[in-house]
Amino acid sequence: MSEKELGRKWDRCLADTAVKLGAGLGLGIVFSVVFFKRRTWPISFGLGYGLGMAYSNCQHDFRSPYLLHGHVVKEQ
């Protein structure tokens, strides 16, 4: 992976983290207000969920050049 490509991946990763955190926060607030009587835990859950999704996406993005795709060959 070149330096430029690595830089682009980091930029994408940070942008995605911001988006996922925002979406998690928003959905957490909606669920907290609508179902859970304005408690804090759905908001924390949403933030954590968003952060986890962003982390997973970043991890996949950074590992993708090194992933080997294999095929199962059945014995005939």
């Binding site: 930029d11 942008a15 995605d16 988006v19 996922k20 928003g26 909606v30 996406n57």
Partner: protein
């Protein structure tokens, strides 16, 4: 009859609001891959200033333009890293030099 229906209607409204929010988040690509997320952020950045302008015109409020900051965090960070690492790499040589200079100075003093 109305008293029995009201909780059902309330539940249906709540589920539709929450479900709608979830669907909108999924449909706009907020919960998708990293590339989609970066795309959505770019679109939001492009859409916010004109939307803000529209709202300001509608309410008749004048907000001063944000100051243009010339500072680029990326460049600053990279410069910081480069300076720190180059300082670390010349540190042993410099320490030896200053030590020798100090010893020379002390020798001169004792003469």
């Amino acid at each position: 009859m109305a008293a029995k229906l009201f909780p059902v209607i309330k539940l249906v409204t709540k589920v539709s609001v929450a479900g709608g929010a979830l669907y909108v988040a999924y449909d706009t690509g907020l919960l998708g891959s990293g590339e989609k997320g970066a795309e959505v952020l770019g679109k939001a950045k492009a859409a916010i200033p004109p939307a803000l302008q529209e709202w300001m015109k509608y309410f008749g409020v004048e907000v001063p333009a944000p100051p243009k900051i010339d500072l680029s965090p990326k460049e600053t960070w990279n410069t910081g890293v480069q300076k720190s690492v180059s300082a670390l790499s010349v540190a042993p040589t410099k320490v030896c030099e200053y030590t020798n200079q100090g010893i020379q100075y002390l020798k001169n003093l004792s003469k």
